[in-house]
């Protein structure tokens, strides 16, 4: 990236790829369209902010999966277990540092959350590396076997969680200062959701910068487009695969921590439960697209929130409806990834 001048002139000559604005406009359009149905403005703001936070948490959990799929063409149905594992890994930190959670200090509480995230990402990253080596690597190239074998991995890993931490749900309290909500007039914003939005945005921006502004990101994007060519140019695509898989697992662990504190209970099946949403999101976004995953997460979460408020009975199937409508509009998802 030293020769920026050459770079820019080169892009000027190439026909620029058009930014696809339509799906991006969908989110504000949807939010505005929901306003008259919701009625009161303050309720609308509350719902929108809550939906954004929910969307961020889903994005954290889904981003790893879609990244792995985009690069490696591997669909990991066992992704949910990394979410559960990340959630359970918080116990490693919460156990010895219970005092930090009870302390009335925002600094200590956030530090605790940070430590939980680090622990979770470390655990899921290591397990992800093992998972890739033992479970996934022998079945590169065959979707059918991938689905089956990762489901098998899911069963075994869930049972292992049962064996280690027991089968009954474990309550985990939110750190003291993250409980409750900010109230501005009629608008209520839960504190934890603000944290979730913050972390989600940081991860999203970080991923975008990494993918679009660094050499590794360039290689990953090139690998998504054409892995054989990247390999022919002398890069070890295998190593790239493994690191992306580990990163994807670690992201799931991060999402798992956020999700665990949101639910405030741990169960081994919690990852698999949320996987339904995750799959909807990555289908809506376009398999393999990180940006699509982000837009999809927010879209799905907002729709779920609005519909849940306006017509609670419909909320259950609203996600499916969103997915069906998007697929009818764009069968490959909002941002189709070119190659496949």
């Amino acid at each position: 990236m030293t020769d920026m001048a050459v770079d820019t002139s080169a892009t000027a000559e190439l026909p620029r790829t058009k930014t696809d604005w339509l799906p991006l406009l969908l989110v504000p359009a949807l939010a505005l369209a929901a306003l008259p149905f919701v009625g009161s403005g303050s309720t609308w703001v509350t719902l929108t902010v809550a939906g954004l936070a929910m969307g961020m948490m889903i994005f954290l959990m889904a981003s790893g999966l879609t990244l792995v799929f985009g690069l490696m063409d591997i669909i990991n149905f066992g992704h949910g277990v990394f979410i559960s594992l990340g959630a359970y890994a918080t116990l490693l930190v919460l156990g010895p540092l219970a005092g930090w959670a009870a302390a009335e200090s925002l600094g200590l509480n956030l530090a605790l959350l940070g430590l939980c995230i680090v622990a979770a990402m470390a655990v899921t990253g290591v397990v992800g590396a093992v998972f890739e080596r033992v479970i996934v690597r022998p079945v590169y190239g065959s979707h059918l076997k991938q689905i089956l074998v990762t489901m098998g991995g899911l069963i075994v890993a869930e049972q292992a969680i049962h064996a280690i931490w027991g089968a009954s749900p474990i309550p985990i309290p939110l750190p003291e200062t993250l409980r409750g909500a900010f109230v501005f007039g009629d608008i209520v914003v839960e504190r934890y959701r603000v944290v979730a939005v913050g972390i989600g945005l940081v991860v999203f921006i970080g991923m975008q910068l990494l993918l679009n502004r660094t050499r590794i990101g360039l290689l990953i994007r090139a690998g998504v487009e054409n892995p054989e060519m990247v390999e022919a140019l002398g890069y070890r695509i295998r190593r790239l695969f493994v690191s992306v898989f580990v990163a994807g697992s670690a992201l799931a662990g991060l999402g798992g921590v956020m999700w665990a504190f949101y639910r405030q209970t741990l169960t081994a099946g919690m990852g698999m439960e949320v996987m339904v949403l995750v799959f909807i999101v990555i289908i809506v976004g376009g398999l393999g697209s990180v940006g699509g995953c982000f837009v999809g997460s927010i879209l799905v979460a907002l729709v779920a929130n609005y519909v849940g408020f306006v017509a609670p009975k419909l909320a259950l199937i609203s996600n499916i409806l969103v997915m069906a409508l998007v697929l009818i509009w764009r069968p490959q998802g909002l941002f189709p990834v070119a190659r496949r």
Partner: protein, 371 residues
């Protein structure tokens, strides 16, 4: 079309056309050991009411029959068409709820059972076709994710609409008079057993299961089944030969859904109850996957072996493991690993090994041993 299907038939299958061969749609087990095991399963299932006393063996046998249909219908999708559905329990549940709602809301007669079954079959067919057309036109992998999403939505829906489905509690209902334990068709005992409505219900399940299984065997060995296998092997080439991949796959998914619905109806008839846990839950979906893969994908007979093995393991393996766990008390780790609640861990490991090492499962293994 006729030419391509004639070409794909193995030569030894075209020659034979005896009675058994026709019943089995010219697709015999092709292994002595396998034939003997299948025969043993068939005979034991056929004679269970007279071989064992008590209600548990009969319930286990009925469950095996139901799961053979369910797993065989799943094999039509997974083994023969090469697509993974996670909505199979949804159709299983629709069948169960069809019977349960009809018998509970209308009246406990054969007519209302018929109405319930027909309504359930219609709903399953429409849903399966809609999911297939929506997702299979893009990529088969969409189908897996979309079926998972739809199935979980339906499961939540079923537990929420409690005024119709009974919610989490499910529905208990009365069977038609002829299937109740109080019904005695014979004056005397038969082979030392009093024949009652319960035994009749078992035989109803047994024969329907047998019929549906043979029907599925017929389907996979028909020209239609050959096309499905062609698509599984090479989607692009099948399309190039002029077969509409989406149409064939959707048809397979509808057929498989219909068979699963019948299985759900049988399950509800046997239990006289239907609820989310008995037919709709995701853990049953995982059980089906385990059965089909361990038994042998794409063999149909694998469904029989897998279902029998799994249901027996579910009923009796835990007892065995409890004994083993107690025996190993004192040694570190080992008792935890064979704790009776960990039986799924071992089946999961067996599942992974099966996918890697024996893609044909037990049936494939037995057939190989012969050669």
């Amino acid at each position: 079309m006729s030419m391509s299907s004639a070409l794909t038939l193995p030569p030894d299958e075209t020659r034979r056309s005896g009675f058994f061969s026709r019943i089995l749609s010219s697709d015999p087990p092709r292994s002595w050991v396998l034939s003997l095991i299948l025969l043993a399963i068939l005979l034991v299932l056929a004679a269970t009411p007279f071989l064992f006393s008590g209600s548990q063996p009969l319930s286990t046998a009925a469950k095996i029959c139901v799961f053979i249909v369910l797993v065989a219908s799943y094999d039509l999708l997974l083994g023969y068409s090469g697509i993974v559905s996670f909505a199979h329990t949804m159709f299983f549940g629709i069948g169960g709820y069809g019977i349960a709602i009809a018998l509970e809301q209308i009246e406990p007669t054969w007519a209302s059972a018929g109405i319930g079954l027909v309504a359930a079959l219609a709903l399953s067919a429409v849903l399966a076709a809609a999911i297939g057309l929506l997702s299979l036109r893009v990529r088969a992998i969409f189908f897996s994710m979309i079926t998972l999403a739809v199935a979980s939505a339906v499961a939540v829906l079923a537990s929420q609409m409690s005024e119709i489905t009974g919610g989490e509690d499910g529905l208990s209902f009365q069977l038609p008079f002829e299937l109740r334990p109080a019904f005695r068709p014979l004056e005397d005992q038969l082979f030392g057993v009093t024949v009652n409505g319960r035994i009749l219900a078992y035989y109803l399940i047994f024969f329907v299961a047998l019929f549906v299984f043979l029907l599925l065997l017929r389907i996979v060995n028909s020209p239609f089944g050959r096309v499905l296998q062609a698509i599984r092997e090479n989607e692009f080439r099948a399309e190039a030969l002029g077969y509409r991949v989406v149409a064939y796959r959707t048809a397979a998914s509808v057929l498989s859904a219909l068979a699963a619905t019948v299985a759900g109806a049988l399950m509800a008839l046997w239990l006289r109850y239907n609820g989310p846990d008995t037919t709709l839950s995701f853990s049953i979906m995982i059980d089906i996957l385990l059965m089909v893969v361990i038994g042998g994908m794409g063999t149909m007979y694998g469904a029989v072996i897998g279902a029998t093995l799994f249901v027996l393991a579910q009923s009796y393996l835990q007892v065995l493991m409890a004994a083993g766990s107690e025996a190993l008390e004192g040694i570190p780790i080992l008792p935890i690993l064979i704790h009776p609640d960990r039986w799924l861990l071992w089946l999961g490991a067996l599942f992974i090994i099966s996918v890697y090492a024996f893609p044909g499962g037990i049936v494939g293994r037995l057939r190989q041993a012969k050669q």
